[in-house]
């Protein structure tokens, strides 16, 4: 076991290099603004608040991860940014213009791949370009270069069902990026992958992000993944729903797997654990770790 960080505020301590990085990041123009976002839904005639007053600025080429306990509305939040859901209040501005419908300036990678099964890998990547009226020769060229970039050039004529989960998700990323979106929105994109593939995909994503002018909004329920990838982490809560904290990730870049034992990583991990798993008022799942079970085995027949 590694030693626990000495103080609960340890995650706020950053090396001068990391502080300088964040200063540079904040000097970049604001790309995406969330202004007092609110989402409610009707349940049995009464209005339930999913989240309220979510406001933050995301800077160009920032990597923002969004985490939160189940029911905090993190998927809803980025669906609103994508234009797939309507907010009950507040607004989303992209480059200062309000967002009200899905558009090619906000690419989305879903957990369920959502590749078009009737199109080959190449035609999938060409789809967005064709929708925007690009000629098919140009679209094909762009699609090829993107497939090359995600290492799937050999599979351009395969159909999605012939690919593994990780490969499908790489095609989905290529398809989203081929449209040159300002923001890449990813909703638990690696959630369905096994641990090994997932960590390889994280490496791929960081490489792509470094080479492409794109801002990433990344949802995950995997706290290590959030720390490994992000610049900042937006932590959402439930009861009340909304922003719990916006954390500057103290782990220096470039990121490596070895960093997961570094003090910064562990300090941040401890903080996220505390934020996500802290018992909140009215949270029924907490406190039920001990089941009210009678013993049904012989005395002495113990497994632990």
């Amino acid at each position: 076991m590694t030693t626990a960080p000495a103080s609960p505020d340890a995650y706020l301590r950053k090396s001068p290099e990391v502080v300088a990085r964040f200063q540079r990041l904040y000097q970049r123009p604001v790309l995406l603004q969330l202004r007092g976002l609110r989402k409610t839904f009707l349940s049995n005639g009464s209005e339930q608040v999913v989240f309220d007053d979510v406001s933050m600025d995301v800077h160009r080429r920032e990597f923002l991860t969004v985490i939160g306990p189940s029911g905090c509305g993190k998927s809803t939040l980025i669906r609103i940014v994508a234009g797939l859901d309507d907010a009950s209040g507040g607004e989303v501005l992209l480059d200062g213009r309000p967002v009200d419908s899905p558009g090619p300036d906000r690419g989305v990678v879903f957990q369920g791949y959502t590749l078009f099964p009737w199109l080959t890998v190449k035609r999938n990547v060409m789809f967005g370009l064709e929708m925007r009226g690009k000629g098919s020769a140009l679209a094909e060229e762009v699609a090829r270069s993107w497939l090359d970039m995600v290492g799937l050039a050999k599979f351009e004529n395969s159909y999605p069902h012939e690919l593994s989960g990780g490969m499908k998700q790489r095609v989905a990323i290529a398809r989203a990026l081929a449209n040159e979106p300002r923001v890449l929105i990813m909703d638990e994109p690696f959630g369905a992958l096994d641990a090994q593939t997932r960590s390889r995909m994280q490496g791929h994503l960081l490489q792509i992000w470094k080479k492409v002018d794109v801002t990433i909004l990344f949802i995950t329920h995997d706290l290590d993944e959030a720390i490994h990838l992000s610049d900042r982490i937006l932590v959402l809560g439930v009861n009340p729903g909304g922003i719990r904290e916006i954390i500057e990730n103290p782990v220096p870049r470039p990121r490596t797997a070895a960093q997961s034992h570094s003090p910064e990583f562990l300090a941040l991990r401890a903080r996220l654990d505390a934020l996500i798993h802290a018992p909140a008022a009215g949270d029924e799942e907490e406190g039920e770790d001990k089941l009210p079970m009678a013993r049904m085995t012989m005395a002495g027949d113990d497994v632990e």
Binding site: A82, G83, L84, S101, P102, G103, P104, R106, G107, V108, F110, G112, T114, F116, P117, W118, L119, F127, G128, E130, M131, R132, Y159, H161, E162, R175, A176, N179, I185
Partner: protein, 352 residues
């Protein structure tokens, strides 16, 4: 590895050879029952065919009468010292033996019509197929696009489907007299009956299929910049077209059932006319052959359409089959394919 012990196929599909065997059995079993009833003399055979009337008054050679009457007649004759009649047990004329029906497949085509203006069998069949073809085509030309629009756009669905849902319950034959009054007595009212019978089902079944398109595919397309009609043409249509094709195969089967109704409207025509005429002449072997021909034509059409469908929607087939060639291979492939979805799909929403 396929487990060989799971004969019932509860958890997994059966081995290909077993599937083929069972398919063949499903045809052989009813045929075997028919053969037993026809060829085993003590099974059923409720009549006696008199070969020698003896001295019984009301017996005559070649007459067929119930066994009880035959035995009573003989008993009465013996009592008063007359010679009993002789005969053997037969089935009624409306149950010909398999070999007679098999022969009729050929002879029915050679049977000259009794009246000079009556059609030959091949002419009757041709007319039936023509009626089906035009009825199904006309219904599809309107029904398929309308079904797709209903499935894609809630506005169209709300505007059309309630009435079509109501119309679906009006039995097509009820329109028979009306169709004749409006369209005359030739094929036009018959085609109209097929259209009326097929159209409303077609719109509802296809719109349901289109509504089943994975909404996340539509969302993905929207985030890639697809809008309006492009969304319909480039996503909704290709995503549902193979299922629509399957629907069409099933609907074509329904159209055949309306055919028999359609053909008794106005002047009786087509295969129904042939069947009725032959039944009147008591040529029941021809009747069975004609009924079987309808089944064979329908079944063969479906096989051919299934084969074309597999060609058209190769992406749907996944990496399941290895691609067979030759007619036998195609048949095997058809036998082995996964069962298609249920005809009437529930309309529950797929959104969480």
């Amino acid at each position: 590895m396929a487990r060989t012990s799971d004969w019932l196929g509860l958890k997994q599909e059966l081995a290909p050879r077993r599937r083929l065997l069972l398919t063949v059995l499903s045809f052989l079993a009813p045929l075997a029952v028919w053969c037993l009833v026809s060829y085993v003399p003590w099974l059923w055979h409720p009549l006696v065919h008199v070969t020698d009337p003896g001295e019984v008054e009301f017996f005559s050679e070649g007459m067929e009468l119930p066994r009880a009457d035959f035995e009573m007649g003989n008993a009465d004759a013996l009592k008063i010292g007359l010679a009993p009649g002789a005969g053997h047990r037969v089935n009624p004329v409306y149950l010909p033996a398999p070999h007679e029906v098999a022969k009729a497949f050929y002879t029915a085509f050679r049977t000259e019509p009794r009246l000079p203006n009556e059609p030959w069998l091949h002419e009757s069949l041709g007319r039936s197929i023509r009626v089906i073809f035009w009825g199904f085509l006309i219904s599809s030309l309107v029904g398929v696009p309308l079904g797709i629009l209903c499935g894609a756009y809630r506005l169209v669905s709300r505007l059309q489907e309630p009435f079509i849902e109501f119309f679906r319950y009006l039995p097509a034959p009820a329109f028979g007299a009306l169709c004749v009054a409006v369209l005359g007595i030739n094929d036009a009212p018959k085609i109209a009956i097929i259209v009326i019978g097929t159209f409303s089902q077609q719109v509802l079944v296809i719109s349901n299929t289109v509504r089943k398109v994975d909404p996340s595919l539509i969302e993905a397309a929207e985030t890639l910049g697809a809008r309006g009609f492009k969304l319909l043409r480039r996503v909704i249509l290709p995503a549902s077209i193979s299922d629509i094709y399957t629907d069409m195969r099933i609907l074509l089967g329904w159209a055949w059932t309306y055919l028999i109704v359609a053909e008794v409207i106005g002047t009786m025509s087509g295969i129904t006319f042939f069947i009725n005429q032959q039944a009147r002449y008591r040529n029941f072997d021809n009747v069975y052959a004609a009924i079987a021909m309808i089944g064979i034509i329908g079944f063969a059409t479906d096989l051919i359409l299934a084969w074309i469908g597999q060609r058209l929607f190769a992406w749907k087939r996944a990496a399941r089959t290895t691609g067979r060639s030759g007619l036998g291979g195609r048949f095997l492939e058809w036998v082995r394919r996964e069962p298609e979805g249920p005809v009437l799909k529930s309309a529950e929403p797929t959104l969480p």
